[in-house]
């Protein structure tokens, strides 16, 4: 277990390092110049050079990357002009655009994605597992077919279309909800939930399809396994077989996939955030990509990569916990 985690950690570190290097390379090739953006449109070449120097973008790529890495691990002093502030590890530097410490920017946005991920995950599991079970209990019958069709349709809907339709339906036609506007949980839980309801639904409705299928397939597969026959041969009631044993068989996969999906949403749900104006990581990513705000871009990439790795590791651990045959 410890060994597994250590190996995972090492592997993750390697992947993240490669990811950061790739991000640096990519954004280094970007046509926009962060200094130009920071300096303003009517910047002269002298001024531009000064700004580049102040940002450190006049350094060669490798050097910039090295500074980024050492800053991350060791921290770094940053000149504010009259004085120097120390940014302690894990320091991702300061945004070229807003001068904020990147770490702080990420920490501020993470709650949005956590809210989004957990809320939508709860919903999609509820919907997905529920419908999957509903369909699996009578395979091939009309309600199975209807469920499958509905779920396939919902699952095929691009999330931005779903978001748009939800906005249209709930905010314009029915006017049951105002246009969403993120409110932190700590400010007002009721407002938080109300404003996140549509984003949750958008993600959940689209994602649930996968879980319906997983649950249905898992339950049916388990029901066809030999050990279920054993249970029948020993007089287990059918209800008990389905609800305890068959669902148990579908559980590891569902939970594993859910953990990975949660990681994905945590790492930034670009469309949902854009459509509903949620100030999360995905939106920040798109914004900072368009302004070539390298420290922020790199910070998000690393955080997103780390979140996905953590989620995948959690998925493996959960799988191992739920399936005694799996050893780690």
């Amino acid at each position: 277990m410890i060994r597994f985690l250590l190996r995972r950690l090492l592997g993750a570190a390697a992947v993240l390092l490669a990811l950061a290097a790739l991000t640096y390379l990519l954004f280094y090739a970007m046509p926009g110049d962060p200094a130009q953006l920071a300096c303003g449109k009517s910047c002269t070449s002298d001024q531009l050079a000064q700004v580049r120097h102040a940002l450190g973008t006049d350094q060669p790529l490798a050097r910039q990357f090295w500074t980024f890495l050492t800053t991350l691990v060791l921290g770094h002093g940053f000149s504010t002009g009259p004085s120097t502030v120390w940014c302690s590890a894990p320091c991702l530097g300061y945004s070229y655009q807003s001068n904020e410490p990147v770490t702080q920017m990420l920490v501020e946005r993470l709650p949005v994605d956590v809210s989004l991920a957990l809320g939508s995950a709860a919903l999609w599991l509820l919907i997905g597992v529920g419908t999957g079970l509903f369909a699996a209990l009578r395979p091939g019958r009309w309600r199975d077919r209807v469920t499958n069709t509905v779920v396939l349709t919902l699952g095929s809907t691009p999330v931005f279309v779903m978001a748009l339709l939800l906005l249209m339906g709930a905010c314009v036609w029915l006017q049951v909800l105002p246009f969403p506007n993120y409110v932190p949980l700590t400010d007002d839980p009721a407002q938080w939930a109300q404003n996140l309801l549509l984003p949750w639904l958008a993600i959940a409705l689209v994602s649930a399809a996968g879980y319906t299928r997983l649950t249905r397939a898992g339950v049916l597969e388990t029901l066809n396994q030999d050990h279920i026959r054993t249970l029948r041969a020993y007089g287990y009631p059918e209800r008990r077989i389905v609800l305890r044993h068959a669902v148990r068989g579908a559980l590891p996969t569902v939970v594993t996939v859910a953990a990975m999906d949660i990681g994905m949403v945590l790492a930034g749900a670009v469309f949902t955030e854009t459509m509903f104006g949620l100030p999360g990581l995905g939106k920040l990513a798109v914004e900072s990509a368009s302004t070539v705000d390298l420290p922020v871009v790199c910070g998000i990439t690393l955080l997103a990569g780390a979140l996905i790795v953590v989620a995948n590791t959690a998925a493996d651990l959960l799988h191992a916990a739920l399936d005694p045959r799996v050893r780690i």
Partner: protein, 572 residues
């Protein structure tokens, strides 16, 4: 050197749904509060004003970095400057008036030395008195590369400005061309005549900054206020709470009314949310305004169908021209006939529609737009009519030696919702009728200025816009047509790369005039004169429509910035 003001405060988010941000319109002078009760300046104190903004202001409020016109919206509540814009509806709103200073500045004979005296009894929000040294320090720090982003005029105008690196370095940290003979006097030595200096002195760079409180790059989160309000809480990108500055008093400030006790600003909202909240105006939102979100075409289409809402819509204009810029250094635009052909071929109706109809754009055949009233002179040298004259264009092209038409690239800024794809495609369609094939060359915001404003990489044809930092023909025409303003290293706005010594001399002459009205007449004449050369194709000027909450009073779009002056808005 001047530049479009609009980019300054309103760095628009680039992606989807942002609809129409960032449109600054200039005041048409229509004053309209939402409430029927009469507004009384004497009796307007109290209440909380809510501001719903889509900008995130994540750069914060550092007077050195801010790039505003006439002190901006929210910055004007925090920073007092030597001069400021006059807060009145109508044409008088384009006038500059004293703020910290006792007058708008005493020029030397050729307008190269400007002297200001501070009013008595001025204090920062921490109670310390404001001295001329604080103003000088504020100007000086705007030169430091760490705090880049402000307007470029100081560097260009002040003696020694070009090489000065700000006060943070170890070498020469003092800019000698700003003298402070005593605590209330400040003298600026310019390297050339600038009759418009009082207008520049309204920028936030002229706000006092106490050296002891300067935290450099971090100053933007909690600057020391000299204005009527001070920051009580600020979460970048989310919200800003302003409360009264106890050391500010109306007795020294004739422009700001500072009616509300508190001002709560929500940042980073989506335009759809802002417009919906403003139109429903429920609860606290009745006391709400926005400083950056105008009505976009779809919303306008809806709002104009609702009489109750329509009452709360205020429209205005900001002097900003959208135009096609020719690069005269590149064929075929070195040929005036070709430029004229394009001027004839243009379909301004399609452009206006693409922009969202007549409520959001007005066709213009002059470079200096009509809304810059004092400097405007009507002309239409190449009459294209409402929808273009392709026949005439074809004829001119044939004359120019292109009987089979031409193919030219058109660069545009994809992230700019106005000069972006809609206008570009509209042009493409119109020009196609005249045998002019436009190859669209989209550039992202991050890339646009680097490419277009560097002569080496500048495309032959660019779709762009120009607004004034202050309402004067000078900042409108000089950067575009003054041959000495061609900057090879980037930041060039003379896209025609037009350099006529006679015109340059003419500009110098007008700059020496310190009488506003006289100078504007001259600028207008210069515009009409340049128009004959078809150096640009003026397309349209933008109009603005904004909603206010139903309890908001004394909210009018001024003609300097084309937006509300929060300092005069009341909710009571």
């Amino acid at each position: 050197m001047l530049r479009p003001a609009r980019i300054a405060l309103f760095t628009a988010a680039s992606v989807a749904l942002t609809g129409s941000l960032a449109a600054c319109g200039a005041g048409s002078g229509s004053s309209a509060g939402g409430s029927s009760d009469a507004f009384s300046a004497a009796n307007c104190q109290g209440g909380t004003l809510r501001v719903l903004d889509s900008a995130k202001n994540s750069k914060g409020f550092d007077p050195a970095v801010l790039y505003t016109s006439g002190g901006g919206a929210i910055p004007r509540l925090l920073f007092r400057t030597l001069t400021t814009r006059q807060s009145v509806p109508g044409v008088d709103g384009t006038k500059v008036v004293p703020d910290l200073a006792t007058d708008t500045g005493k020029p030397s004979e050729n307008a190269t030395v400007w002297t200001y005296h501070l009013k008595a009894g001025l204090k920062f929000a921490d109670g310390t008195p404001i001295t001329s040294a604080d103003v000088k320090y504020g100007v000086e720090r705007s030169f430091s590369p760490q705090l880049a982003g402000g307007p470029p005029y100081l560097r260009d105008w002040l003696v020694g400005g070009a090489d000065y690196q700000g006060p943070y370095g170890s070498g020469n940290t003092d800019l000698a061309s700003i003298a402070t003979p005593d605590a209330s006097t400040i003298v600026f030595h310019l390297r050339k005549s600038e009759g418009d200096f009082p207008y520049l002195a309204a920028e936030t760079q002229f706000a006092p900054v106490p050296k002891a409180k300067d935290t450099g790059k971090e100053y933007n989160a909690d600057p020391v206020s000299s204005g009527p309000y001070t920051i009580a809480g600020f979460t970048k990108g989310r919200e800003l709470d302003l409360v009264r500055n106890p050391y500010w008093s109306r007795s020294t400030d004739q422009q700001r009314l500072a009616c509300p006790d508190r001002i709560d600003v929500s940042l980073g909202l989506s335009p759809a949310v802002i417009n919906q909240r403003l139109s429903s105006s429920v609860g606290q939102d009745a006391n709400a305004i926005t400083t950056d979100t105008s009505l976009d075409a779809p919303t306008l289409a809806r709002v104009s169908a609702d009489p109750a809402l329509k009452k709360r819509v205020v429209t205005g204009k900001f002097p900003q021209i959208y135009y096609l810029a020719f690069n005269l250094k590149k064929a075929p635009f070195d040929n005036q006939l070709v430029r004229e052909a394009l001027s004839y071929a243009v379909d301004r109706t399609a452009l206006v529609n693409a922009e969202g109809g007549t409520q959001l754009a007005v066709p213009s055949t002059t470079f200096t737009p009509e809304s810059l009233t004092a400097a405007h002179q009507d002309y239409d040298d190449f009459p294209a009519g409402a929808t273009g004259n392709p026949e005439k264009a074809k004829q001119l092209l044939a004359q120019a030696g292109h009987p089979n038409g031409i193919t030219v690239p058109l660069a545009y800024d994809t992230d700019d919702t106005s000069t972006g794809a809609p206008a570009a495609t509209a042009l493409q369609q119109a020009f196609a009728k005249a045998g002019i094939t436009l190859q669209l060359q989209p550039l992202s915001d991050a890339d646009f200025s680097g490419t277009v404003n560097t002569p080496a990489t500048q495309p032959a044809l660019t779709l762009t816009s120009w607004g004034a930092d202050w309402p004067s023909g000078g900042p409108f025409l000089t950067p575009i047509f003054d041959g000495r303003q061609i900057v090879t290293g980037g930041g060039n706005f003379n896209l025609a790369q037009y350099n006529d010594p006679a015109v340059n001399a003419q500009i110098d002459k007008i700059n020496q005039i310190t009488d506003y009205a006289a100078a504007q007449k001259q600028w207008a004449a210069l515009d009409a004169q340049l128009g004959k050369l078809a150096l640009t194709v003026p397309l349209y000027e933008e109009a603005t429509s904004v909603l206010t909450g139903s309890h908001v009073k004394n909210a009018y779009l001024d003609q300097w910035r084309g937006w509300y002056d929060i300092a005069t808005v009341s909710v009571k």
